[in-house]
Assembly symmetry: C2
Homo-oligomer: 196 residues x 2
C-alpha cells in the first residue's frame, strides 16, 4: 500500500521501544513532510552517535574520548565510586547535582535465570579499581529491584573489608526503576545512604 521506501521506514521506526505501527506511520509521515535537511539531521545524529560513542575505559559510562566527561573531570572526587547498572542511571544521578564522585557502570544486573553471571558484568574491573586507586567508599546504586538488590548484596560481599560500602537509601519506591525516579526522591536517597 505504501511505496517500498516508506514501508521500510515505518518498519524501522516500529522497532523502537514503545512505538507501535500507528505511531511509526505518524512519525514516517512527519519525516516525509519535514524538509530534507531536518530529516537528514536525525539520520546523521543516529549515525554519528554510533560512530562516536564508546564505553569509557575506566568506568564504562558513555564516552566520546578514551575517558568519559565525568572521569576526565579533575574536580570529581576519585575516592568515591557509585556503581550503577546502566549509563542512563548516571544521567539520573547527575541530575540531582548532589553527587561529586565517580561512577562504575556494570552493564546490567546479576540474573542467573537470564544467564547474567558476575563475569558478564564489569565486576572484575570494579574490583580492580578499588584495588588500585585510593577508593574510600563504593556506593551501590543498582536498581531497587530483585536483580538490582541481589547485585548490590553480591558486590557488598566482594568489597567487604576493602573500603566503605554503602547503598542508596530506601525511599525509592521498591520495584521502581532508578532511571525514572524524580530528582528530589533520588537526592534524598543519596543523602541518606546507609552502610551495608
Amino acid at each position: 500500500m505504501y511505496a517500498p521506501s516508506v514501508d521500510n521506514l515505518i518498519a524501522q521506526l516500529a522497532r523502537l521501544p514503545g512505538v507501535g505501527r500507528r505511531t511509526a506511520q505518524r512519525l514516517a509521515f512527519h519525516l516525509l513532510k519535514a524538509s530534507e535537511a531536518d530529516a537528514n539531521a536525525l539520520a546523521d545524529a543516529i549515525r554519528e552517535v554510533k560512530e562516536r560513542i564508546r564505553p569509557c575505559s575506566r568506568c564504562f559510562n558513555l564516552a566520546e574520548e578514551e575517558l568519559c566527561e565525568i572521569c576526565a573531570d579533575a574536580r570529581r572526587d576519585g575516592s568515591l565510586i557509585c556503581v550503577v547498572e546502566d549509563p542512563s542511571d548516571v544521567i539520573a544521578l547527575e541530575r540531582t547535582h548532589e553527587y561529586r564522585g565517580l561512577y562504575h557502570v556494570l552493564g546490567g544486573a546479576l540474573s542467573p535465570i537470564d544467564g547474567v553471571d558476575p563475569e558478564h558484568l564489569r565486576i572484575a574491573e570494579l574490583l580492580q579499581r578499588v584495588e588500585g586507586d585510593e577508593v574510600a567508599e563504593v556506593l551501590l546504586a543498582t536498581n531497587p529491584t530483585m536483580t538490582g538488590e541481589a547485585t548490590a548484596a553480591y558486590l557488598a560481599d566482594r568489597l567487604r573489608g576493602r573500603c566503605r560500602v554503602t547503598r542508596l537509601a530506601s525511599g525509592l519506591p521498591v520495584g521502581g526503576d532508578l532511571e525514572y525516579a524524580d530528582e528530589v526522591t533520588l537526592g534524598r536517597a543519596l543523602a541518606g545512604r546507609r552502610e551495608m
Copy 2:
C-alpha cells in the same frame, strides 16, 4: 551532562511529534544499546525515503516513480477521483478495500487565517484533471473539520456542472457509543438518517 553526540541525538528525536524529552532519552539509549547495523538501518531508511519519495505527477500522492502505485495501476477506475488533504488519508481509505478509483492529494485544507488560499493547494491541478480526463465523479474526502468542510464546499462550487460531486457521509463512528458522541456528529447522523 551527555556526550555532545548523545545530546544532539536526543534533541533530534525530541523534534518528532508526540516525543517529549524523556521519550527522546529512552529512544536514544535504545539506539545506543542497539547494534550499529540496526541503528544505521533506521538512519538509512530516513535518508532513503527523502531521496526516493516525490509527489506523483498526476495525483500528488507519495511516489517513487513518475506515477504513484495507484495511478500506475490500470485496474483502478479512472472515472472516479477521491480528493483528500494528505497522503496519509490515501492510506486510511485504501485500508477499507472499498474504493477502486483514483485520488487527488490537495496538500492540506483551505484556511485563510493561516494563509492557506486556493493557490497553495493542488486545486488548479484537480480542475485540470476533471477537464481533461473522462471523470464522472469527484468524491470530496477532506476531513470533517472546519477547514476540511470549507475546502469541500469551495471545491463543490468550482466543480458544479462539470461532473458528479459527492462527500463522505458524516455520522456516528461504527462501534461508538451514542452517549459519548458530540452534538455536531449526532446532529449530522440525525440529518443523514436513512431508510431501513
